[in-house]
Amino acid sequence: MDIIIQALINGLLTGSYYGLAALGLTIVFGVIKVINFAHGSLLMVGMFAAYWMVRLTGWHPYAALIVVVPLLFLFGYALQGILIKPILEGQRDVREPTEVIIVTTGVWYILDNLALMIFGAEYRVVQTSISGQIFMLGDYIFPKAQLYGLITTAVTAGLVLWFLKYTRTGMSIRAASLDRDAASLMGINQYRVYNIAFGIGAMIAGIVGCVLIPFYYVFPTVGVIFDVKCFIIVVLGGLGSIPGALAGGVIVGLIESTFSQYMTSTWTELIVYVVFLAVLFIRPAGLFGEKRDW
């Protein structure tokens, strides 16, 4: 068995769910033009939703998607509609309403602490039918839960791209993301578009939850572990770019898994940041980012 090939496999598998976790962030940014600081908390909500579904019903984690995905979509839709919309309305003439950052930071604190209050600080892991199961290809190990995660990432990204490109709602989302005023003049209800975009972001967090729970633990501040990583991935890949988020995720995953075979794993974080800076130096808009006036 060649350790580097195994490390590449692991990096690809890990990177794919990093990318999926960053996808929601990039979509929300692409449309509303503000960074959603509550993104990690949405991941946490998604993970808890998935955890409880599987825990209480004993379903396969991917069967739980049927309930978790609509639930999180509604959650994100309502969150945007109730909390963020008033700010956007108040900042009607501003292209990048930065006040939203503060609101999402508030949401982050409230959600994390609510979870701490309701569920307690302990770590929770649920044993599912795919936990710890592996698939061997020759000498190489593919943990099933992560392999399914890779497939889910590809399918989710494909569906989201298709939705944005070919459906009417998707087109109005893209229109609003290009210019909210012009889109409004064309008869697009921009706030509804934002609700949907936020809903999609939250929905993907729900998918991430279902992907992660067979092998990861859940606790109220689990989002913090992922969200710094998500920010790096999104900026690395290009803010607002869906392929960028996936590529960024895989790059970070590959760096972590391969470099750590030659140095202690604490140093790989440094490498991630060096690559991050180097990419921004050469391509300030990120790998797949487009040069726009914003």
Partner: protein, 423 residues
């Protein structure tokens, strides 16, 4: 713009933390201000963040012990003074811990401080207490140097980490002899905080002394989202023995990933902390079977007071007592005893009384009678010289994964001995 947002985030976090601390501390302090006949203990604990689970266990144990002592009449030599706990959340962050210590001493005027579980927080916050001359009880924080700075006001009840490491190696030596297993290579895998790196420094010296070849020396951040790379490294180096120092989340992740990646070793030994957390075996299930852990305390110890207290604790908080919670529980009794003898709330007098502490099992004090070692008595340095370590093995007993005491042999649970090497 992007850069500004990152700063913004950190800034908001710090601000919110300060406001929250101020609110909590302010509220608790004001509600007791009217009653003068109290002794205030300021507790610095990780109540949120990666060590929150163990911090809250320590908080619960202190609450229960305080309740018992107050119910039994408080501190009699102080006219039945009640013990009052003031809680501050360190988040496991040294900076927050130091601020908390300053605040407890200056604003809340506490008589003693207790804490802080994370060695990285205990180390600087004891320094604050020393400067102000406020006694600081450390139930558990294993970093050696905490009691090696010539401090007069720091008292540690639990064993320090060089004793933990020493006993891990002594255990291996004993197993080598009794089972004839060949153990040549060793791997160190540890969280990259003060605690993990402190353990690692001890291991390096001991491995040399006992003739092991170190094949892996791997620190990792406790908040890693993925530990597969570390596990792959263990797999390729094929060590006979794996020594681990982990917090709860990473202990769970490492153990489950090692099982998935089919990593085998003759012995895998944890260093308390995350492995001692009840969450660990709940969340790893069969994956942790036959692993070893060193710990200062276990529910199956042969001490008469344990079953009742454990039942009460489990009833109130939903989980068993563990090393951390027992030392925290005992610490309140140590404090109460010192206050009783000091007959004063003057920090200097409390300190002198603490220095003369000699409490042994069988003195009919619940908090002391449940300890795994025989006495609490502080060295000149403030270290409890009787503190000791036991080794447990995760074993399935009647279908339930339990921690079974296997070393030293005389303390082992009846009918059990170590399964070595791990199957």
């Amino acid at each position: 713009m992007k850069k500004g947002e990152y700063y913004y985030r950190g800034y908001v976090g710090v601000l919110a933390a300060i406001v929250m601390c101020a609110l909590v501390v302010g509220f608790e302090a004001s509600s007791y201000a009217a009653d003068e006949n109290v002794v205030k203990i300021g507790n610095i604990l990780p109540l949120s963040g990666p060590s929150a689970s163990v911090g809250i266990q320590g908080q619960n144990a202190r609450k229960l012990a305080t309740e018992y002592i107050n119910k039994a009449g408080g501190i009699k030599s102080l006219g039945g003074a009640k013990i009052v706990n003031i809680w501050t959340d360190s988040k496991g962050d040294p900076n927050v811990g130091v601020t908390a210590a300053e605040q407890l001493i200056n604003t809340d005027k506490v008589h003693l401080i207790s804490g802080a579980w994370n060695s990285a927080v205990t180390y600087p916050s004891t320094q604050v207490a020393e400067r102000y001359g406020i006694p600081y009880i450390v139930p558990v924080s294993v970093r050696d140097t905490i009691t090696e700075r010539g401090f007069k006001y720091t008292f540690r009840i639990a064993a320090k980490d060089s004793w933990w490491a020493r006993d891990q190696f002594l255990f291996l030596e004993e197993q080598k002899k009794s089972t004839g297993t060949k153990l040549e290579t060793i791997a160190f895998v540890y969280e990259n905080g003060d605690w993990g790196t402190g353990m690692r420094d001890q291991w390096v010296v001991l491995a040399k002394e006992f003739g092991y070849k170190v094949v892996l020396d791997e620190p990792y951040p406790s908040t890693s989202s993925d530990l597969t790379p570390v596990v792959m490294k263990i797999k390729t180096r094929k060590p006979d023995v794996i020594l681990l120092t982990s917090n709860a989340a990473d202990a769970i992740l490492l153990t489950n990933t090692m099982a998935t990646m089919k990593v085998k070793a003759k012995a895998v030994i944890g260093t308390g902390g995350g492995h001692a957390d009840p969450m660990f075996r709940k969340n790893t299930g069969k994956n942790c079977e036959y692993m070893f852990d060193v710990v200062e305390w276990e529910t199956d110890l042969n001490r008469p007071g344990i079953p009742d207290l454990n039942a009460e604790f489990k009833n109130s908080y939903g989980y068993d007592l563990a090393g951390e919670s027992v030392d925290a529980f005992a610490s309140v009794y140590v404090i109460a005893d010192a206050l009783e003898r000091a007959a004063s709330t003057d920090p200097k007098k409390i300190r002198d009384a603490l220095a003369e502490t000699r409490l042994c099992v069988g003195d009919n004090r619940l908090g002391i009678d449940i300890l795994s070692y025989d006495c609490v008595e502080f060295e000149e340095s403030g270290q409890n010289k009787h503190a000791g370590i036991i080794l447990v093995q995760f074993r399935e007993v009647d279908g339930v994964m339990e921690r079974v005491t296997v070393y030293p042999a005389k303390a082992a649970r009846k009918g059990f001995s170590a399964v070595f090497p791990m199957p």
